[in-house]
């Protein structure tokens, strides 16, 4: 068996019919070709599309509206205040939401680094996440109804970690999202996701 394997290796060192275990033996030789690729795939820190502010603003306005309606109902039953409290809550909530949205947009950056994806986000709680490519299980692109209206998409990176889809990048144009998904896929393959768990 190994005799035949040896012959095959001599004939076609990187042939496709070899078993994965043998291919891994020459991983270093093989990666010579992909090193250049990796340099093309990685890049400097990127910001989101500015349209995402619209999506977030609408989302915060919707939650402010829900809060306002609940407050309006509650206060019309109670003896103090009146339904106007709900209106005030809605206005204040929306203004705060929009302010947070602008800050959130300014802070949000992501970077495709050589061996990991790096995200920086959060207004109240600033979070910097490092997601190594070897840990990537799969990459999704998602488009919600509001996102579609604004012509945006979200790329979600899944790991086996307990935080689930914690690594998601919103506010990309569909082309950018598809490009990012393809790049991450290539990087994950280059990193050989052998050790996913």
């Amino acid at each position: 068996m190994d005799e035949r394997d040896g012959d095959r290796m001599r004939e076609r060192p990187f042939g496709e019919d070899l078993t994965p275990a043998i291919r891994r033996t020459d991983a270093e030789n093989r990666s010579d070709a992909s090193v250049a690729d990796i340099d093309e795939l990685i890049g400097p820190p990127q910001t989101l599309e500015s349209e995402i502010q619209g999506v977030w603003a609408i989302q915060s306005a919707v939650s402010a509206a829900i809060l306002g309606v609940i407050a309006a109902v509650a206060f019309s039953v109670l003896s103090v205040g009146g339904p106007w409290v709900g209106g005030v809550l809605f206005v204040v909530g929306t203004i705060v939401g929009i302010a947070l949205t602008i800050l959130r947009y300014r802070i949000w950056t992501y970077q495709v680094r050589s061996d990991s994806l790096y995200l920086r986000r959060g207004v109240v709680t600033r979070v910097n996440t490092v997601a190594p490519y070897i840990r990537i299980q799969h990459v999704d692109t998602r488009r919600g109804p509001v996102e579609r209206v604004f012509g945006l998409a979200t790329t979600v990176v899944y790991t086996a970690g307990s935080r689930g889809a914690d690594v998601s990048i919103p506010g990309l144009t569909p082309e950018r999202a598809a490009d990012l998904q393809a790049r991450l896929k290539q990087l994950a393959i280059a990193a050989e996701g052998e050790d996913a768990v």
Binding site: R24, T125, N128, V130, T159, G193
Partner: protein, 497 residues
């Protein structure tokens, strides 16, 4: 292979018991039936016969087979399911038997893989011998997939619980969840006691400590009974690269934990255990669904040094020298706890002034100095240690948990900073693994460390992960080359390792 024939009546009886409440509602809800005992009996018998028929079909249509590299299960009465589980991906194999199952000599065997949220394969029920056979066969096949020459080693006992430890477990393992249940019962008992005192304050002063003592005592007794029932005859052994455990008084559990699938080790000691010099060891694999924490406890309670020895035999971490967060983190906790204390004092005062209740609200002022002590204790028990292959994290005063995370098992690493943390230039580093207890708040994390240190730590962990992966890969490559040279065919190692 088929299930054990005894599983037909057993499963039928089980489903009847499960439906018993429906019967109860039915009988109570329709007194017109009036038949009393005889009609209930009739219903039970009819139900049992129907269930028996269904289970007979279930039995006939359930087939499993253990091949050299998969476990195939074909099942389902109406909708059929054909499932193949690659043996290399199996994480845990657990056998459980309750009293009735033991009387019948049957057992339930559960298989866990890293995917999915529930148990991937559950055979209910096979004979106990068959369960044992499957467990050891699975272990052998998993080893075989890696290295055929490795001989089956005899079981080596690592730990078995003594009766002293078992009785201590009842005291140490007071379950706080039980405490809340017992507390709910308190208002039923308390008023009758308090009525005997004229002054409500005096009444409270007498009844409150009594009640507290009562709560703790009852809780201790209940959790003691639960602990003894759960961990009676606990035994941990090692065979090749697997840990084998056995435990339980009424319901007997036994299972295997493959060492190479271990994600994280946790050593936890609560206040009482710490004083007595005891600790418990938890082994987390990626297999279990969140919330199964109970079944992952590798050693329920043992001497602290012994626990560390056992932990080192699984993951060879170095002597731990913990680094504490900077002192300004402690200031944060002082502020936080003092605020809580002041809110309590304020509301007690308000309740005293604006409601009919009059009581010594100023007693709550004592909480303020307590807040400072609590802050110090919280800070004192925090810590992290960066080692060459592991990052070790420690937190918690009531239950101090030391988490040993191999860099190799890290999934993502992040540092986060709230507004309040930014003001004090502090940050928290969270190390996420595929271990299953991550959904609770007890994520492995280094709380409130210096912000520049946090950034450094985040990058260090990510870099060391890459290093460890490269290292493992080159080792595997070397092993592979060696096996080619010596002319031995070896199956490629599976990816979920």
């Amino acid at each position: 292979m088929k299930l054990d024939p005894l599983s037909i009546p057993f499963r039928a009886a089980e489903s009847i018991v499960r439906l018993a409440w429906v019967l109860v509602v039915f009988v109570i809800g329709s007194p017109a039936l009036g038949g009393g005992v005889s009609s209930v009996l009739g219903l039970v018998v009819t139900g049992f016969v129907i269930a028996l028929g269904y289970q007979l079909v279930y039995y006939q249509r359930f087939e499993y087979e253990l091949t050299n590299d998969t476990l195939d299960i074909v099942s389902g009465v109406i909708s059929r399911r054909d499932r193949e589980i690659p043996i290399g991906r199996v994480q845990n194999v657990d056998i459980s038997r309750n009293v009735f199952q033991r009387a019948l000599g049957v057992a339930q065997i559960n298989l866990e893989t890293a995917g999915g949220s529930s148990t991937e394969a559950s055979l209910r029920y096979v004979s106990h011998e068959e369960a044992k056979r499957l467990q050891s066969e699975l272990g052998r096949l998993k080893r075989g997939a890696r290295d055929e020459t490795e001989e089956e080693q005899p079981e080596r006992e690592l730990f078995s619980i003594t009766s002293k430890e078992l009785s201590l477990l009842g005291v140490v393992g007071i379950d706080l969840r039980l405490l809340s249940v017992v507390t709910v019962l308190l208002p039923v008992v308390a008023p009758s006691l308090r009525e005997q005192f004229a002054d409500p304050l005096l009444g409270l002063a007498v009844t409150a400590p009594l009640a507290a003592a009562g709560i703790v005592a009852v809780t201790a007794v209940i959790s003691g009974i639960i602990a003894v029932a759960n961990y009676y005859g606990f035994r941990l052994a090692r065979r090749n690269d697997e840990l084998l455990y056995e435990r339980g008084l009424l319901q007997r559990y036994s299972g295997s934990i493959p060492l190479e699938k271990v994600q994280v080790l946790t050593i936890s000691e609560n206040v009482i255990a710490r004083r007595l010099g005891y600790a418990s060891l938890g082994v987390e694999t990626a297999g279990y669904a969140p919330g199964d924490a109970e079944s992952q406890s590798a050693v329920p309670l043992a001497d602290r040094d012994r626990v560390f020895d056992l932990a080192r035999s699984v993951e060879n971490f170095e002597e731990i020298a913990f680094e504490r967060p900077p002192k300004r983190a402690r200031e944060r906790y002082v502020v936080r706890y003092s605020l809580v204390a002041l809110i309590v004092v304020g509301s007690a005062f308000a309740a005293d002034t604006y409601t009919g209740l009059t009581f010594a609200w100023y007693v709550t002022v004592a909480l303020v100095p307590l807040a400072v002590v609590a802050a110090h204790l919280k800070w004192l028990n925090l810590g992290y240690a960066v080692q060459s292959e592991y990052i070790v994290l420690r937190q918690g005063f009531w239950t101090r948990t030391i988490t040993v995370v191999p860099y190799y098992r890290v999934q993502t690493v992040l540092d986060s900073q709230t507004v309040l943390q930014r003001r004090r230039r502090l940050a928290t580093v969270v190390v996420d693994t595929a271990g299953s207890s991550g959904l609770t708040n007890r994520q492995p994390r280094a709380l409130d460390i210096d912000e520049s240190r946090a950034k450094e730590l985040r990058e260090t962990v990510a870099d060391r992960l890459q290093e460890m992966v490269r290292h493992r890969r080159s080792e595997r490559r070397r092993a592979r080359l060696q096996s080619i040279e010596t002319g031995r065919e070896e199956a490629p190692s599976e990816s979920v390792s």
